[in-house]
């Protein structure tokens, strides 16, 4: 009955109570939403590359190798030779291997030379393959397949010509070798979206008339002649490797790292991604802190509403006292009331969160390539909800203590 009366009292003050609950609900939604986006971002990040057991490149730092081979950030200081690549490819432990050659660019986007196997082997978001949105994969020497962001930013469509520049600055464009866009890939939320993909041979073809980064004066080989040339690359930037089995991965990694002919580095993408995330992860702590503050603000708001309701409720408390309620019953009722408000707020926030996720999930995915999973609550999130209710009860003790004192002093004789 006390619970019913406490609820009745809340209903009687429906408007202010509703506002307080709404504030708590929004703050809880924000906090859990940030949590969802954070785990989604982390998962998306970790899913940038999957299905690849090892990434191999010239010896450097593991994060650096990951950055330039997968995220196309920074440059390789050294290449690995084609001989090393072939040696590794011939190893028994290697199931498949995809070479990658970087170093050229188109406008602000990187150009990557690779083989057709890349489209088969490169997986993201736990095993999803690249798919072509428009046109077809490249199958000619001068074909280029571009990522969704490239197409969108530069307004390209299939069959448009495209000029590839050597190096990253655009002052020395390979204008003599125009490429054709053969296909545009579906958006993935990975760096592939921002990449122009051509064949490994195409990278060589671009450089036929070039030596040491400059065009040889007066020399301009026609595309038809280039087609007849041997375009076997001398070196590549990195290679994605799939091992024949889980157990072979570490042996293969060790043998590549100890490769005598050339200093090489093989990394496990998952481990390197973790290392990289630790660097990026500082921002997530800041996000959590901010959304935690919002919850604290909402709870303090609730405390303020309870405080301001005390005066108008003196009569109510006096009636309880006259009927024999001890001051601590008054105290308990106020704390209970706050806990009920916090609980309703937390649950409402949860409902808002999931409704919001259902609406926003496809939008976020297409706009940012960020897949926020709609999962049942994690244990951690359940604890957050319980924490909100407990914190609500704790902050309400401040006005409850005041009510306790007031009801002791007033007794049952309040005349308002």
């Amino acid at each position: 009955m006390i619970l019913r009366l406490a609820l009745g009292s809340l209903v009687a003050r429906a408007l202010t109570v509703a506002m307080t609950i709404l504030a708590i609900a929004l703050s809880v939604m924000l906090f859990l939403g940030v949590e969802k986006v954070r785990t989604g971002a982390k998962a998306s990040f970790a899913d940038t590359i999957s299905g690849t057991d090892l990434i191999v490149g010239a010896r450097t730092g593991s994060v650096q190798l990951l950055l330039y081979s997968v995220f196309r950030i920074g440059n390789a200081t050294n290449n690995m030779t084609w001989e090393s690549y072939q040696d590794i490819a011939a190893s028994d432990a290697v199931d498949w291997i995809v070479p990658i050659s970087l170093g050229d660019s188109h406008r602000q986007f990187r150009v990557m030379g690779t083989t057709g196997a890349f489209f088969e082997r490169y997986k993201y978001r736990s095993g999803q393959s690249l798919t072509v949105r428009d046109g077809a994969l490249m199958n000619d020497l001068f074909d280029a397949t571009i990522g969704a962001d490239v197409a969108e930013t530069l307004g390209y469509s299939v069959d448009d010509p495209i000029v590839v520049a050597h190096g990253l600055a655009s002052f020395s464009e390979h204008e003599d070798q125009p490429f054709r866009i053969s296909g545009i890939l579906e958006k993935t939320g990975t760096p592939v979206d921002r990449t122009v993909i051509v064949s490994l041979e195409a990278i060589e073809a671009i450089h036929v008339d070039w030596r040491s980064g400059a065009q040889i004066p007066g020399q301009a080989t026609s595309p038809d002649v280039i087609r007849q040339m041997d375009l076997q690359p001398q070196a590549i930037t990195a290679a994605l490797v799939g091992a024949t089995g889980r157990l072979q991965v570490f042996g293969l990694q060790r043998s590549i790292n100890e490769y005598a002919e050339e200093p090489l580095l093989a990394i496990l993408p998952g481990v390197a991604l973790q290392e990289l995330w630790q660097i990026v992860g500082i921002a997530e702590t800041a996000l959590i802190a901010v959304s935690g503050m919002v919850i604290v603000t909402a709870l303090i708001g609730m405390m303020a509403t309870i405080f301001s309701s005390l005066n108008e409720r003196r009569r109510e408390m006096a009636i309880f006292r006259a009927m024999g309620a001890r001051p601590r019953v008054i105290f308990a009722m106020l704390v209970l009331e706050a806990a009920v408000m916090a609980a309703i707020g937390a649950l409402l926030g949860l409902v808002l969160l999931y409704v919001g996720l259902f609406i926003a999930q496809p939008l976020i995915d297409s706009a940012f390539g960020l897949w926020v999973p709609i999962d049942p609550l994690s244990l951690r999130e359940v604890w957050v909800l319980i924490g909100v209710v407990v914190a609500g009860a704790i902050v309400s003790m401040v006005p409850a203590i005041r009510a306790y004192r007031m009801s002791l002093a007033d007794g049952m004789m309040v005349r308002i």
Binding site: M1, R4, A12, I319, M323, R326, M412, M413
Partner: protein, 233 residues
């Protein structure tokens, strides 16, 4: 019908309000027997509220004995006194007696929540609520209604029902009729006394209105039993 053992007895009670604004109240002797209806007449400021607070045990006298149903409440702990009040005393105020957001039923049953012994005397609470409402002339459809929607006269009857439920030995009423018009006043006291006499309940009512006197067994002037002191103690 009357039992010589006093239901309420105050002996040499001396109370001084804490703090510098000193207000003091002395009651040498006040005694009410079972089943008596007593009107305590006094002007405002004559110490009525203080006296009622002393009887109900929300304040405690510095010396003397306040005995309710044969037990001195001055020596009890505050928690025990709160429980004791719920068990032994039915209270009716001047106005705003009820929790406006709660149903009439919940309002009437409220004291039983804090008084287990009194609740035990009520075999079937819901039937008792209906009976009391019927006896006090309240239509049965108000029982489930929110108390705040009732007229003032009906609210006072609900307060009377709340004071009567579980038949406490003493009912204390603080000007319960002052918010009612003359005709309703008489009717209210009639139904209240019918009920209190049926259960031999003692009624102590405080008022400034001497016209009510003829309906009571006994009339006491505040000034005859209470000595108040003001100013520097």
């Amino acid at each position: 019908m009357t039992n010589p053992a006093p239901v309420l007895e105050l002996n040499d009670v001396r109370y001084r309000r804490p703090g510098r604004a000193s207000f003091g109240l002395d009651v040498p002797k006040l005694s009410l027997t079972q089943g008596e209806t007593v009107l305590l007449l006094g002007e405002s400021g004559s110490g009525k509220s203080t006296l009622l607070s002393l009887i109900c045990g929300t304040i405690v006298a510095q010396s003397g004995a306040v005995c309710v149903a044969g037990t001195d409440i001055s020596s009890m702990s505050s928690g025990t006194r709160d429980r004791f009040r719920a068990e032994q005393i039915g209270l009716i105020f001047q106005q705003f007696n009820l929790l406006p957001f709660a149903s009439v039923r919940d309002n009437i049953l409220l004291p039983l929540r804090f008084a287990p012994d009194r609740a035990k005397r009520v075999a079937s609470p819901l039937e008792d609520v209906e009976r009391l409402c019927r006896d006090l002339g309240l239509p049965s459809d108000v029982i489930g209604a929110r108390a705040g929607l009732l007229s003032v006269g009906q609210q006072q009857r609900v307060a009377a029902a709340r004071a009567l439920i579980g038949t406490p030995p003493l009912i204390v009423a603080d000007e319960p009729t002052s918010s009612l018009d003359a005709a309703t006043q008489t009717a209210f006291l009639d139904v209240l006394f019918t009920q209190s006499r049926a259960h031999a309940t003692t009624v102590l009512m405080v008022s400034h209105d001497a016209r009510l006197a003829e309906q009571f067994d006994r009339v006491i002037q505040m000034s005859d039993i209470v000595k108040t002191t003001r100013g520097a103690a």
